[in-house]
């Protein structure tokens, strides 16, 4: 009871997502161990940590993508706008409309550029061609891709460059008008120029969206995020304002990791 009321009062603050004691097991492997974290609305929260530390698992919990993995067990609570996403009345399909996701490897559908962006809205029942065109244009503009490809919307998305494909995937996620955008190492497969574009984009998107980004790139976390959370071996070691995490971390492990002295 006490937890519930404290959660309720937490929810009244500016946190968009509240995570409490989130534990995830794959079979007998403990992937996340009692992680509690607040994610601020219209802020960029970076999740850093070595491979296998659970940051991607954490991310995939926020839109319940882990539900599809065989043998997964999830305990603890995740509240978005004060509502538990594991509540039996919450439809995971509806949840994912509100919590969009961009993956590490760009994964456009083997369809036209237009059909890629229009996929989500169509699935959610938008049939009107004019409305779809508006959504596609708006989303591509938001993803800073419109000017580059506005003349070839009917071409295959697979003909785009890697960086363009990733921005297309961002546009596709934005087209369903989510509140939250989860990004799983969105720039790790891109060259520095394409990476810079994605980072610029994140900066602009945070005026409207709550963004959670997983990254292996320290500089990237430092550049794009407001808050940084350091994960290690399935536990949340430290979370705080990005500047503080990188210049004056509270824990020795965090300092070792962000300064590259991680052993």
């Amino acid at each position: 009871m006490e937890t519930a009321s404290s959660l309720a009062s937490d929810a009244s603050t500016s946190a968009k997502i509240l995570v409490r004691d989130l534990t995830v097991r794959y079979g007998s492997t403990l992937a996340l161990d009692r992680v509690s974290l607040d994610i601020g609305e219209r802020r960029v929260t970076a999740l850093i940590g070595p491979s296998g530390c659970g940051k991607s698992t954490f991310l995939r919990c926020l839109n319940r993508m882990n539900d599809h993995i065989r043998g997964v067990r999830i305990e603890g609570r995740v509240l978005i706008d004060g509502v538990s996403i594991h509540d039996p009345t919450v439809d995971p399909v509806e949840l994912r409309r509100r919590v969009g996701m961009v993956f590490q490897k760009s994964n456009p559908f083997p369809k036209s550029i237009f059909d890629n962006v229009a996929f989500g809205p169509r699935v959610h029942g938008v049939r009107d061609r004019v409305a779809l065109c508006e959504i596609v244009e708006r989303s591509l503009r938001q993803a800073a891709l419109w000017d580059e490809i506005k003349d070839r919307l009917d071409r295959s998305a697979l003909d785009l460059s890697g960086g363009q494909q990733q921005r297309l995937c961002i546009a596709r996620a934005l087209a369903v008008e989510p509140d939250v955008l989860l990004m799983d190492e969105p720039a790790s497969a891109l060259d520095p120029i394409a990476t810079a574009k994605i980072e610029e984009l994140i900066h602009e998107l945070k005026t409207q969206y709550t963004i959670v980004i997983v990254t292996h790139n320290m500089q990237q976390a430092a550049r794009v995020s407001d808050e940084t959370a350091y994960f290690y071996l399935g536990r949340l070691i430290e979370v705080g304002p990005t500047e503080q995490i990188f210049t004056n971390p509270g824990r020795q492990e965090t300092e070792d990791y962000v300064t590259g002295r991680f052993g």
Partner: protein
């Protein structure tokens, strides 16, 4: 010095082995290709002479009367394949979707195993089974029974190729669709199946081409017919059975017709293969 020489010796030996093994693989490839070319060449040599417009447009003539064709067998084979596709494609395709997208547990293992066993069942056994299932109750041989037997033969190949090609569709596409809030079935219908469609169509066409040449199951089910076979419930001629009948006959003229029919059958099957590869074999979704 010694070390260098022994290294050289080993190098020379390795090159010898390499040459022999390379030669063996080339020879094996050439023989495989050679068999096909020999077959095709021999059929053209033996059968092309009997090919004429009549062959494709006329009915067989009575024994002793020259000329005539196999129009009824061509149409019969087409109708048999139509029935076969109607039986084999939906079952194979939907079963493949089920295996690839819904079930990974013991049920899938049993179904896969059963499909492989069915694939290994001699086609004549399928023929006898359908004889008991359809021919006896209906009272006569028919296109329906023949096509049904061919359809049963198609199922395992159609099922497994559908499953394999759906598995080639990368999970990242499924993730992308699910993350956009698409339900599972929408993801399958709008993303996974379209992405694997080229491969699936190729597989289905090839499985159809494969049963097009089956003879044994037709002997008990479609039998044969010297005349047109109207509707679906009469015995019907078909190319493979016609080849069989004509080839074992004592008449020189029929032998030539059998060669011609064999040539036509082979060209049709090869043609289906080529069409399948050209039309659907291009860029596959697996590259996405």
């Amino acid at each position: 010095m010694t070390g260098t020489r022994s290294t050289n010796g080993r190098y020379a030996r390795r090159r010898r082995v390499e040459r022999i093994m390379f030669g063996a693989t080339v020879a094996a490839t050439a023989s495989a290709l050679g068999v096909l070319l020999f077959l095709l060449g021999y059929l053209v040599w033996q059968g092309a002479g009997a090919l004429s417009l009549d062959f494709f447009t006329r009915l067989p003539t009575p024994v002793g009367e020259a000329g005539g064709g196999m129009a009824n067998a061509l149409v019969g084979s087409a109708k048999l394949l139509l029935v076969a596709a109607a039986v084999g494609v939906p079952i194979g395709f939907l079963g493949g979707v089920y295996l690839a997208e819904y079930e990974g547990g013991p049920v899938a293992f049993v179904v896969r195993y059963a499909a492989d066993v069915l694939n290994g069942v001699p086609s004549i056994v399928i023929g006898i089974t359908v004889y008991g299932l359809l021919v006896v109750p209906l009272g006569h041989f028919s296109t329906l029974a023949g096509g049904f037997a061919l359809g049963l033969l198609m199922i395992p190949v159609a099922l497994r190729t559908t499953e394999e090609f759906l598995r080639l569709v990368p999970d990242s596409l499924r993730d992308a669709s699910l993350a956009l809030g698409a339900p599972h079935w929408v993801t399958i219908v709008r993303v996974v199946i379209p992405a694997g469609m080229r491969g699936i169509l190729t597989g289905l066409l090839l499985s159809l081409a494969r049963v097009a040449g089956e003879t044994a199951p037709l002997l008990f089910t479609a039998l044969s017919n010297r005349f047109w076979s109207p509707g679906w419930l009469q015995p019907t001629a078909s190319l493979p059975v016609m080849i069989f009948t004509y080839a074992i006959s004592p008449y020189e003229d029929w032998h030539r017709q059998a060669w011609a029919a064999a040539l036509v059958l082979l060209v049709l099957v090869l043609g289906a293969n080529v069409v399948a590869r050209l039309a659907f074999g291009g860029r596959s979704a697996a590259q996405a």
